[in-house]
């Protein structure tokens, strides 16, 4: 099985405190992988590092993906902004028309199709500030659909979302898998991960385990993860683990 992403001894720190600490792991290609761990375990930071959005990165990330799509946590989006559903979804084609080009008829047609397939037909002209959290998440999934990426990174896609919406959006994720795309999702619902995600990566600033979900989410691993996350030391000294040389 080839890897879509290869993390080699990755450390990301804020104010010198590592949020992700010496993590080495592989994310399998054309598979769906869940990233699991307690709050503050560095899950979102890991996603941002994969995207190249954080600065202080030691170690390396090898990425074979041609195009990456990213679903941020909703708090990072100004949901009161005056923009319509259709315009938001169309942004998924940014790589096609960029900052100055015109959206082609085909792009609008595809956007329409994406909106239909997340179950929001008829919402095209609605401003996004009239949507519920679940509906807005469907809009963002439609935008991801339009991005046609081979690697899709989802940061807590199902936080505060009802079960009907979750199962609809899970359908979209399984569709991506059938289309041979790699999906990485940060999740909190362990039952859902066990049910739907064959691969997992358990993180508690350091890597607890990664691989088949059944093995990774063992009771013993989860206990370890919780213990590691709580051991935050305000007066920690410099980390002595030498950085491995990467070729």
């Amino acid at each position: 099985m080839s890897a879509a992403l290869k993390l080699v001894d990755l450390t990301v720190s804020y104010d010198r405190h590592p949020a992700v600490h010496h993590v080495s792991a592989e994310i399998p290609a054309a598979e769906i992988t869940a990233i699991v761990g307690p709050n503050g375990a560095g899950k979102s930071t890991l996603l941002k590092a994969m995207l190249g959005l954080v600065r202080r990165v030691e170690g390396s990330i090898e990425c074979s993906a041609r195009r990456i799509a990213y679903l941020p946590q909703q708090a990072e989006i100004d949901r009161s902004f005056p923009i319509s559903v259709l315009d938001t979804v169309l942004l998924g084609r940014w790589s096609r028309f960029g900052a100055f080009g015109k959206a082609a008829k085909a792009d609008v047609h595809d956007a329409q199709h994406a909106i239909d397939s997340v179950g929001l037909s008829g919402f095209e002209r609605r401003p996004i500030d009239t949507l519920s959290v679940g509906q807005f998440q469907r809009v963002l999934f439609a935008r991801l659909l339009l991005q046609d990426a081979d690697l899709v990174l989802l940061d807590e896609p199902f936080a505060a979302i009802d079960s009907k919406t979750v199962s609809d959006l899970m359908g979209v994720i399984h569709r991506w898998r059938r289309e041979q795309r790699t999906v990485v999702a940060v999740l909190h619902d362990l039952d859902q991960v066990r049910r739907e995600f064959p691969n997992s990566l358990l993180l508690a600033r350091e890597l607890v385990d990664s691989g088949p979900t059944g093995r990774v989410l063992s009771a013993e691993n989860l206990l370890r993860a919780r213990a590691m996350a709580e051991a935050w030391d305000e007066r920690a000294g410099a980390c002595e683990v030498p950085l491995r040389q990467t070729a």
Binding site: L53, P72, D78, F81, P82, I83, W94
Partner: protein
Amino acid sequence: MYDFLFAPFADFGFMKRALVACLCLSLGGSSIGVFLILRRMSLMGDALAHALLPGAALGFLLGGLSLPAMSLGGFLAGISTALVSGAIARFTSMREDASFAAAYLTALALGVLIVSLRGSAVDLMNILFGAILAVDSQALLLVAGTTTLTLVGLAAIYRPLVVECFNPGFLAAMGVRGALYHYLFLGLAVLNMVAAFQALGTLMALGLMLLPAVAASFWAREVWSMTAIAAPLALLSGAIGLLVSFHAGLPSGPLIVLVASLFFLGSLLFGTRASVRARLSHPVHLRG
């Protein structure tokens, strides 16, 4: 009627020029104002306008009451304030609004000090509060040129600017440098403040940009329609303010801004969305 509404503009050159200046400032400034609001930068914009003062004052110190010197100085001061506070916010954990406040307070104090080195209290009043009736053809050219540049510039960076306001992480994930557009926009904003400052002074330069834009946000819910409403409101404020100031013999700058405030107040009370009226009325709810 004619005597009241049109004669002042027809008979007096300075009123004509002031009206044209208002027209230009309304067209370019109000769209800048709309984006300032959408970026939640209204107060930072205000701080930026105050920060023009030391530059304008330095220009004044070196060139006297000359428009090019004061405008150039003001522009440089505004841009460097924006860049420095942006840089401080990026490199330290200080929030951008705090660093803007620190920068503009420093600038304002410095500016007042510089003007007082050489000028009289009248000069200081002119710089702080403007003199739209003293707009000459040179100033008019500056204002009109600014408006042209603003409209063309905003049209060019419209899409990335909108996305940068709404979902900054998206541009970053697409590998687009959103900060570039942010700074282009700040540059245009500073340019408009420089253009407005001769007419309205550094303290109220933002009045004609921001108040109509805020008023428009009570009527419209798209970026383009907000702009389409804000520009005529700004123009009306300018014209009415000038007329009242002409007939009542009161200073024009504050009157223009006050008329814009009245539009704001009216919109706040009677606007179609999020207004007091919308809050108090209880229309029959729909079926679905």
